[in-house]
Structure formats: C-alpha cells, structure tokens
C-alpha cells in the first residue's frame, strides 16, 4: 500500500492518572539558577510538592508556597498586600532575579487577578514577576513547563537585526578554516574562527549538559544556536522577534510554540523531536534545511549509535509495549522504540496537539512502515481502568506506566517501567541513547526465576 496509514486517534475522556502540572517547579527552579518559584495555592498543592520534591525540600530550594487561609477566601485580607508581604520576604531571604508566580486550580486563585497585581508589585519591589497558571484543570504534568515558558517568552528582549555580526551565509565559506580530522574514526571539528550565530533559538528545559550536546551537534553543521528558552539565568534570555527561527526539543511545548509564533512573530521549525538517534537526526536535518545547510556526516553518526547499542536492541527486538500515558513524551518514545524493533500496542497520552506534533506523527507513520509493524492505537485522555483490562487481554511484554499502577501491574505479572523516569533521565541527543535503552531494558533484564511459576501475586482479580 503506497499511502501511509492514518493513525487511529481516539479520545476516551476517561479517568487517568498523571501528576499535577505544578510539578514542573521541581526541575525548572534548578534549571533557571537565579529564579524563585512561588506557588499560590492550598495545602493540597504544598503537600503534593513536598512529596514530589522529596529530600530536596530540606536543602531550601528556591521555591515556596503562598498558602491560602480562610481569611483570604472570605475577602477579609487584601490579596495585593498579602502577596507583597510574601514577595518582600523572598527578596530579603533569597534575592532572586525573577519571581515566578504559579497560579493553581482552587477557584479562589482562578478568580484572583494575579496578572493585574503582578506588574504593580513588580514596580514596588523592583524584581520582575512572571505569572503562569499551571493548574490541573487545563494542563497535565509536563505541560506545566509549557505554560511557564510561554509566560517567560514575553520577557525575552526584542531582537534587532544589528545584533548579529554578519548575515548567515548560504554555504560554508571555503576560506574559513574548519578542520575535519579523520583519525581514530571520529570526526571532530577544531575551531579556528568563530562562526556567526544563526538566528535560531531552541526552547525546552533540558539539563545544561544535554543542551550543550545539542548545541554541539548543530555547531558541527555550522549552525550556532543564538540562545535557549529557558536560559540558565533569567538575565540571559535570548532575543526574540521577526526573523528568528524557533525550534522545540520536547513534544509538550505547544503553547510556548504558539506564543512564540503569534506574539513574538518568530518562525517555528516543525520537526520530530531529538529523542533517539533517528529523532535527533531528523531534527538536525530539518533545522539544516531551513538554514540551507547540507547536513554532514549525520547518517554515519546515526548508524554508529545504532551499532553501539546493539546489545540493548537485541533484548527488546520483537517485544511488545503498552504506554498508559502521563508525561506527553509518549509519541516520541514510542516512535523510537518501534525503530528499535518493538511493537507498540497502544499509546495513551493526556493531550496531543496535532499541529505541533505533526512532524513527529508523520515520522511515526514512516517508522512503522519502515519496520513493518502495525500502527499503534493513539488514545487521548485514556481511561486507566479500561487500559488495564486491555492489557490483561493483550499481555504486552512491557507496560510504561505511572507509579500509581506500576506495583499492582507487577503483582499481576506484567513488567513495568515507571514513566516518570523518562522525564528526569537525559533522553535527548545522540549521546544519551544508551540511557533510554538502559531504562527500557532494565525490567526485562533483571527478572529472577521466582515469579515465573506464579501467575499473580495478588489475591484480587
């Protein structure tokens, strides 16, 4: 059949488990080193974060709760004054470069005019205040990051053409001394002259080492990244505006993409996401094509990686996997695992923006065709209970699921992998491919002989 199969999308609007989007505070405060996150909410929010942040709470992270009390609800206390008191305390204790208010889903907070109070307070205390609403009504888990970055995008300085040293050239100038040394089977570039920065801003929060790795890959293709959103420090936010190209590194950043396009007039590069060697290659290729550069050595790079992880792919080839879905990385991870030789029965996902993930979805179809496996079923807002029933019938080799279901599924003899680990492990780029496979194969590798005789370690059906 010449035509690509259209993937089957369903929306179950079921009851599924995922984390509250304020969990993004856990990694964002670490990424943006001079920030302070103030979560405005109730005891429930505080309790959740203290369990999610675990031990880190004791190290006095740059985060705190502005906890609503009964006086606030009955309008006895003035919100502006209360918030001012708290922000002044934060300024005295930690003196951050920016305070980010996270609005949560209590009705009182939803009605509170944080967006109106913030600018006034900002003038009074002299620290920029960004308002982001990361509530469980509209968003799921990693989308918390999406709403924070979308809010931050408004604070990036305006891009002026004169900032660049020179216009990007269409082809590599022969006289610029870029040496390619072929010894020891490794291609690496030793720089003599600095390349002009391309008008490219990448968005998504990644650990700085991973961001550096991706920068390096693009540098090899003579593309120098202008900056990242978010940057390591608030004061280093990249310039945005007409003429700037933006590209995301994670699939859950659709709102940020829209804001960058509509409000900041940037050009969005739609590409598959740099997860897995195939994804990374496709991502680089797409960026190169936009900047009119011919990619160099990408095929070799990708093949090299595939060869290096052969031992892992051997373990998972032909095995089946079921994604229950909670962190919105599912499509990219599924596509990568299919390319490794696995069969994916179903991809549950809390929310999927079909336009932002268009390239990734297309890539998924292409990969299935290439590997000759059936297209997985994609279920938005899945119903966990129904999924468990489906898993009992399908009997996948591996279920990628959240921690609420992992133990019970294990007791029923279904191997699981916590999906949360993929959010915190380094999974982007060429260099980290082994890390993803390490996670995926661990439950399949270390099974002792005890369980094989038992169908189920639970007395409940």
């Amino acid at each position: 059949m010449k035509n690509f199969e259209i993937p089957a999308f369903e929306c179950e609007t079921g009851n599924y488990h995922t984390f509250c989007p304020i969990s993004c505070v856990a990694w964002l405060y670490q990424k943006i080193e001079d920030s302070f996150f103030l979560v405005i909410g109730t005891k429930t929010c505080g309790y959740f974060l203290q369990n999610a942040l675990g031990v880190m709470i004791f190290a006095e992270p740059r985060y705190a709760m502005a906890e609503l009390e009964e006086g606030d609800i009955s309008a006895q206390l003035n919100n502006h004054e209360e918030l001012k008191k708290i922000c002044l305390q934060i300024k005295n204790d930690r003196n951050p470069s920016v305070i980010i208010w996270i609005g949560t889903c209590t009705t009182e907070i939803i009605k509170m005019d944080l967006e109106g109070i913030a600018p006034k307070l900002e003038k009074q205390i002299g620290i920029p205040i960004i308002v982001a609403r990361a509530n469980g009504l509209d968003y799921a888990f990693t989308q918390g990051e999406d709403t924070v970055l979308a809010a931050m995008a408004h604070r990036c300085p305006e891009y002026k053409n004169s900032e660049l040293r020179q216009e990007p050239t269409n082809k590599i100038d022969n006289s610029s001394q870029i040496k390619i040394n072929n010894s020891s089977n490794n291609n690496f570039i030793s720089e003599r002259i600095e390349l002009p920065k391309s008008k490219l801003v990448l968005f998504g929060s990644l650990p700085s080492s991973v961001a550096s790795q991706l920068n390096l890959e693009l540098k090899r293709q003579s593309i120098l990244v202008l900056g990242w959103l978010p940057s390591q420090r608030y004061n280093e936010l990249p310039s945005l505006g007409e003429g700037i190209y933006v590209c995301g590194v994670n699939p859950f950043l659709s709102r940020t993409a829209t804001t960058l396009m509509r409000r900041r007039k940037c050009q969005l590069i739609g590409s598959p996401f740099p997860i897995g060697p195939d994804g990374t290659r496709a991502w680089i290729e797409k960026i190169c094509s936009v900047f009119n550069k011919t990619p160099v050595g990408l095929n070799e790079r990708e093949n090299q990686i595939w060869k290096a992880v052969q031992d892992y792919t051997r373990i998972i080839k032909g095995k089946s996997v079921f994604f229950m879905g909670d962190n919105l990385l599912e499509i990219s991870l599924a596509r990568f695992l299919i390319r490794c030789g696995m069969v994916v029965y179903e991809i549950g996902i809390p929310y999927m923006d079909k336009r932002y993930q268009a390239a990734e979805l297309l890539f998924l179809q292409q990969t299935c065709k290439k590997m000759n496996t059936p297209l997985p079923r994609i279920v938005e807002k899945p119903d966990n209970y129904s999924q468990v029933q489906r898993m009992h019938e399908l009997k996948p080799h591996l279920a990628i699921t959240g921690m609420a279901h992992a133990n019970p599924l294990e007791a029923r003899n279904i191997n699981t992998k916590w999906s949360v680990e993929f959010t915190f492990a380094q999974i982007h780029g060429f260099t980290n491919v082994q890390d993803i496979l390490e996670l995926v194969t661990r439950p399949l590798r270390c099974r002792s002989g005890i369980m094989s005789d038992f169908q189920s370690l639970s007395k409940q059906t």
Binding site: N15, T18, C20, E67, N135, I189, P408, T431
Partner: protein, 483 residues
C-alpha cells in the same frame, strides 16, 4: 496567606482517602482536577501495595465546569457500582451507598479529617442498620474487642495490629472487628457486639469511639500500649472492663497480673535492658522528642520513666491536642513545644543540643544537618517506615524494638566516648588519588574542564593520542565507552 515550606500533616482529603482505601470494597471518587490523586502513588509506593488503590479522580476540566459536574460524577459512580456488585454478590446490600465526606479543607488537617470520616462512616452504617432492624445489640459470649484506627499508610500500623492481636490472645480476648483496615462495611453493624473498644492512636479513631460510647454505651481504652508501664496499664484497664461483665456472662473474674509479670520480666527484654550496665551509660543523657501526640508522649514516658534518660524538650505538631499532650508529659521534660513550624522545632533542637533526637522524618533531617543522631518514632512517613520485617511499636515486642531504636541512636555517642577513653580513633589521612600526574601532559580546554564531572575523558584521550581535550572529545569518549 502565609509562606509555607513544609507540613507535618497532609491536607484534609488525604485523611478521607486513607479511611476510604482502608475499608474493603469502598471506592473513593474525587471530583477534582488532574493530579489530586497523587495519594494513589504514595500508597502504592510506600506500602508496596499489590492491588490498585481504590481511588479515582473524576476529572474536572473546563468543559465539566461549564456544563455542570453532576452528570460526570454520576457516570463514574455507575461504573464503580458494577465493580461493587461483582465483589459483593452474597451481600444483602446490593446497591452501593454514596456518602459525601464532610470535611472542611481549610480548617482541618489529614488526621482530623480521617478521624471525622471514620466516625461518619461508622455512624452511617449503624444508623442504617438500626433503621432496617439489622442491628445486633447482644454482646459476644466471650470477651471481645474492636480495634479502631488501623489504616493505610499508617506508621507501622500493620505490625502494631499484629502485635495487638498477640497481646489480646493470651488474656483470651477475641477480636470482634478491626476498622477501617480490611473491614467490609456490611460488618459494621456488628461493632456494638464487642465488650469494649481499643483506640491505639488517639489521632485516628477517637471520634468513632466517642460516638460508640455515647450511642451504644461501649467503653473504650485510650491508653496506648507503648512501653512496659503503659502496656501494663493497658492490660489492667482491660481486666477492669472485662470484670464488669464477666461475672454474669462467663461466671468468673479474670486476673492478668501473672501474664503481665511474665511478659514484663522475661518475654520483653526491655526491663532487663534498662537494668543492664550498658543502659546505665545512657542515664543522664539528653534527648529531644517530637512527633504526633500519641507517639511523642509515649516515647517521652519511656525515656524518662523506663530508661532514666533526660528529655530536655518534648513536642508535637498536633496542635488541636495540645492540652492532652501537656498533661501527659507534665513533669517529665524541661520544656514542651507545640507547633507545626519545623523551623521552630529545628531552632529549639539546635539550641538544646541533645545527644539524640526522637522524632519524624523531618527531625531526622534536622539531625543530619546538626550532626545529632535521630530515631524515627512517628509519621510523617517515609519508605523506611514500611519495613518488610516485623517492627511493631506497641506491645511487648514493641518494647524490644523501641529499646533497640533508643540504644542504637545513642550508641554512636557511646562508641565515640569509649574510643576517646581508649584512644582508638583512626588517624585521618586521606589518600589523594593522583589525578594530577595525568594532567601534566594533557592540556584542557575551558569548555571541557567545565564538563569534567560528567564524562571520563582521561584514558580515552591517552589511548587515542589526543593531546588536547575539547568538549568534542569528551562526548566522543562517552559514546565510545558506553558501547
């Protein structure tokens, strides 16, 4: 609004969920936004629960808010009803009852909410049974008791429950019901058949016990059997209650004195331990205690009255129970601290500088910071408080466990002292691995040095005759070495 960093007790709905998921065939439905069911994760991971946590979020999203939530909640109830029917085949209550938990989120915390929800459920089912004529008011033939307040994921609850059963078995007290953990709702109508109620943790179960006393005249024992003295007192109270009825029902009086004596002297090792010479070394040492009211008060008593250790400061985060707590520890400690603010507790401990702390996981971290050993004796809980082995805090086995905990917490100090006396400390010479020799003939670029912690570039470079290590080389090294 207040600036908050950490809380000891969780929010109200957690308390309600604890009770709901402890009962059998109860399913809790939360009409809530995504993420409020992180309780499922906690219970599944802490208790290593083998079954699905019976809590579902009927997700509130903007569409639901606009249209009105009722329809969605009703749909969810029907689905759970099927489950209910499937499980409850033999029961005469074939339709599921729906109860709305009556808890005010801003006023009460996890413990108070759990207490209230348990009382609410007990009241509901007893009232229902009375209306429908199912209530059985006759006492059991032999002395029996209900244990009220064992729940998931409680601090060492499962082990405590087992030990309570053991404690009651020799005096021939049978267990009528244990609620809420593992009990079927349909059995609640038989609660009044027991001769008395036991409430091991006053934070959870007191309201239900008070209700049963008021409505059904059931006496209850509030003394928690933690420690030798309290356990003896506990048994004495049981014998008093049993003897109220025993003459007419079983035609004899009971006397457990011999049992208590035997346990105290020989089965539990704690009494002997407190006489032994290594315990004598603990006398005069100072401790700080903090936790929920039940455990903090009990441990304070054990330290002072059973082991001769001084308690400089004792405290609890259960502010609503301050009066009871103060009364319990009066005269046993130098100062008390009733607060929910962990910073205040940390400052107090820093000021006092005790030899050991007995508190919650938060105090354990305070101890780490101040370099003071800490034994954990109360919730909030951590995975460490769900050991696979048998570790009760109640009863005679509990006294052994507690003695071990106390002794080991102080032991560090004693070891240090003995080493001081005999001069046995290791000389502290740190072997510095000479990474520096490699550095002589390799030059590092600035970028590479800043990536140093993550990637081992040294011998790869040497192997490949590379004299300048750039970031490129480091990543190449990682890829090569990981294959």
């Amino acid at each position: 609004m207040k600036l908050a960093y950490w809380m000891y007790a969780g929010p109200a709905h957690i308390g309600t969920l604890r009770i709901a998921s402890s009962f059998r065939n109860v399913h809790a439905i939360m009409h809530a936004p995504l993420g409020d069911d992180h309780f499922n994760v906690m219970r599944s991971m802490l208790e290593r629960e083998r079954d699905f946590t019976p809590v579902t979020t009927s997700v509130v999203d903007p569409h639901v808010l606009a249209r009105g939530s009722r329809e969605k909640v009703v749909n969810n109830i029907s689905q759970k009803e099927d489950l209910q029917n499937f499980v409850d085949r033999a029961s005469s209550y074939s339709e599921s009852d729906v109860i709305l938990a009556d808890v005010n989120h801003y006023r009460i915390n996890e413990l108070q909410a759990a207490d209230k929800t348990l009382e609410q459920i007990v009241r509901y089912y007893l009232d229902k049974a009375r209306r429908e004529g199912f209530l059985n008011r006759s006492l059991t033939d032999d002395p029996s008791a209900n244990i009220i307040g064992i729940s998931t994921p409680g601090f060492h609850n499962q082990h405590d429950c087992r030990e309570l059963k053991r404690l009651l078995s020799e005096p021939r007290i049978s267990i009528n019901q244990i609620i809420p953990e593992g009990e079927f709702l349909k059995n609640l109508k038989d609660l009044p058949r027991a001769w008395f109620n036991i409430v091991p943790y006053r934070e959870m179960g007191l309201m239900a016990a008070n209700f049963l006393e008021k409505e059904y005249g059931m006496p209850h024992i509030l003394t928690t059997p933690i420690g030798i003295l309290n356990t003896a007192d506990f048994i004495a109270q049981i014998s008093k209650i049993v003897n109220l009825w025993s003459f007419s029902l079983i035609e004899k009086k009971v006397n457990y004195d011999l049992y208590v004596e035997n346990q105290t002297k020989f089965v539990s090792q704690a009494t002997w331990f407190s006489k032994s010479i290594d315990c004598q070394n603990l006398a005069g040492k100072e401790a700080a205690v903090s936790g929920d009211a039940t455990h903090a008060a009990a441990i304070t008593k054990i330290l002072v009255r059973e082991m001769g250790i001084r308690v400089s400061c004792s405290g609890t985060y259960c502010k609503h129970d301050a009066d009871w707590f103060n009364e319990q520890v009066q005269g046993l400690c130098d100062e008390t601290i009733i607060t929910e603010d962990h910073i205040e507790i940390g400052d107090t401990i820093a000021r006092i500088e005790p030899s050991a702390i007995f508190g919650t996981q938060m105090e354990r971290h305070i101890g780490k910071r101040l370099d003071i050993p800490c034994g954990v004796i109360s919730s909030p809980v951590h995975i460490q408080n769900f050991p696979l082995g048998y570790r009760p805090f109640l009863g005679y086995e509990g006294t052994n466990q507690i003695s071990d905990l106390i002794y080991n917490s102080f032991n560090l100090g004693m070891e240090d002292h003995l080493l001081d006396v005999f001069g046995g400390h290791d000389t502290k010479e740190v072997n510095i691995k000479s990474l520096s020799t490699e550095k002589n003939n390799i030059h590092w670029s600035y970028d590479a040095e800043s990536e140093l912690k993550k990637i081992p570039g040294f011998f790869f470079a040497k192997q490949n005759n590379i004299s300048t290590i750039t970031v490129d080389v480091m990543y190449a090294a990682k890829e090569k070495l990981s294959s």
